[in-house]
Amino acid sequence: MAETEKYDRADREILAAMGKPGRLYLLVLAFTVTLVASGFLCWYHQYRVGLGVAGYTHPVNWAVYITNFVFWVGIAHSGTLISAVLYLFRARFRTSFNRPAEAMTVFALMVAGLFPLIHLGRPWVFYYLFPYPNQRQLWVNFRSPLIWDVFAVGTYFTVSVVFFYVGLIPDLAIVRRCKEGIRKTIYSVLSLGWEGTRRQWRHYNMLYLFLAAFATPLVASVHSVVSWDFAMSILPGWHTTIFAPYFVAGAIFSGTAMVITLVVPMRKILVLDRYITDDHFESIAKILLFTSLIVSYAYVVETGLAWYGGNVFEIELFRYRAWGHYKALFWTMITCNSLVPLTLFARRLRRNIAYLFCVSLLVNVGMWVERFVIIVSSLARDFDPYVWDTQMYRPTFVEVGITLGSFGMFFTLYLIFLKTLPVLSITEIKEHL
């Protein structure tokens, strides 16, 4: 048959996802929305009464909220990795993941951005954190890691949105073609009147290349900065040089896992097996394995050197992590992040989608726990033994509620994305068809 028809079929099959929402879809959507609502209520309670309603036990001044922040920023990373880095490496399998991954990046960042504000003691003066000229004639402290966050995450969000949108333009033109009425107008506007002329394509490719080139170091820098939120302190367990690369790897690790978690059901439900093949999954599984190895390396080195250095603070901390209040979590983290992924050395398991899905879930859990352990256990055991936590930190319903709410928000956004935008980058798929 004619190539054009192949392309047409691709259009049809991929855009099929944008059809009328079914009952299942609506049910899930309703569920996630309720999560968001309840999360908001919890936050409002905290806003009114004070941060004390959360379970913080001094000296554990940071806990679930910051954990969520790091977690979601981490999730965001794989998006850029898959679309930008793999683009530079000209890895084919990228095309079948980049759209959902990029969407994920944007949404995850939207969620992540909330947490620094949620965890503030006085959220109503959050604007103190932004460098804008004010009547007080005050600026922010650019020497504080938290301000670096503002810049890094802000930049990252902007760039990701641009990247996402640029990737969408030609596809939007296709959607425009298939829609009628008001929808048509909307998509026409969004597609900026894209034609696909030679000139457009040439500049487009250039733009895409550059965006990829910009995004790649950005990915690294953003999570480095996040890691420095901790590494810049002098706290044992936080102040260590390996944090930057370790966090970046961890971020990509968790992000990739989340991509799998999202794409596996998506492919199943939207029947996209032709465009997302097992080979693709195998290659992404390799990334998962690789990053897991880096993370494990970091675990080993950190602990090993604590012992090597013979520094009382460090040693006590790592002893505490493994055998103290939070030992259960610690060992969960080891299992999920270091041991389970090792099974992916087996090709058979790499290609077993169901198994891969389970692993990805475990990794998500593991990485969330990892951040929690790093943050909380280090705080609970620092220099002055007098302030060592006399009782274990436990999140209250507020924290739990807000955390669930964040997941709710993420999935809500993702569900909306499924129905409003092409879930795969059609044009690129056509290129390789």
């Binding site: 804008y132 000229p133 004010n134 009547q135 007080r136 004639q137 005050l138």
Partner: protein, 174 residues
């Protein structure tokens, strides 16, 4: 081609960012100088007469201005020392006398009020030779006292900058 594209790009980026800031600053700048409204006081005390006509020094009534952080309002005794005799027929003075006789202190409506977290000492400013009018304006020309200057941080700071006064946060923040 290249040259005439680079320039605008740079200009756009730099001036764009700072330009926005400039605008906001200017906008805020206006708000600082709009001053406050003039409330009706329980007794319509005319600074015009006392300051301009009689040219009484400020600390004739505000006795603590150079001794304490508070300028202090005059005790009715002080007022009466003159107004036992002077202008007794005026309605406002009658009010005053009534207050005095019934031993009811006068509750003026505060025109200049600072937030709780600010430490401000009239004494220090007076001793440093800051003229009352620099903050309180031409009181002598005001029938009713109204706030001059916003009392916002920026307002204090710009003066401190200009006069080389300390800009250590702890000088003013409790």
């Amino acid at each position: 081609m290249e040259r005439n594209l680079k320039k605008p790009a740079i200009l756009l980026a730099v001036s764009g960012y700072f330009g926005v800031f400039l605008l906001i600053t200017v906008a805020l700048g206006f708000s600082w100088y709009r001053g406050g409204q003039a409330p009706d006081q329980p007794i319509a005390f005319p600074h015009t007469i006392h300051v301009s006509k009689l040219s009484l020094p400020c600390n004739f009534c505000h006795i603590y201005v150079d001794r304490s952080r508070h300028a202090g309002a005059p005790a009715l005794e002080t007022c009466m020392s003159c107004h036992r005799a002077i202008a007794t027929e005026r309605e406002e003075i009658r009010k005053l006398t009534r207050h005095y006789e019934e031993k009811r202190p006068v509750l003026w409506i505060r025109v200049y009020s600072l937030p709780e977290h600010v430490y401000f000492s009239h004494k220090r400013h007076v001793k440093a030779g800051v003229d009352c009018s620099e903050c309180h304006g031409m009181v002598g020309a005001m029938k009713k006292i109204r706030r001059v200057g916003s009392l916002e941080m920026g307002w204090c700071v710009s003066c401190h900058r200009a006069k080389g006064a300390p800009r250590d946060c702890a000088t003013c923040h409790k």
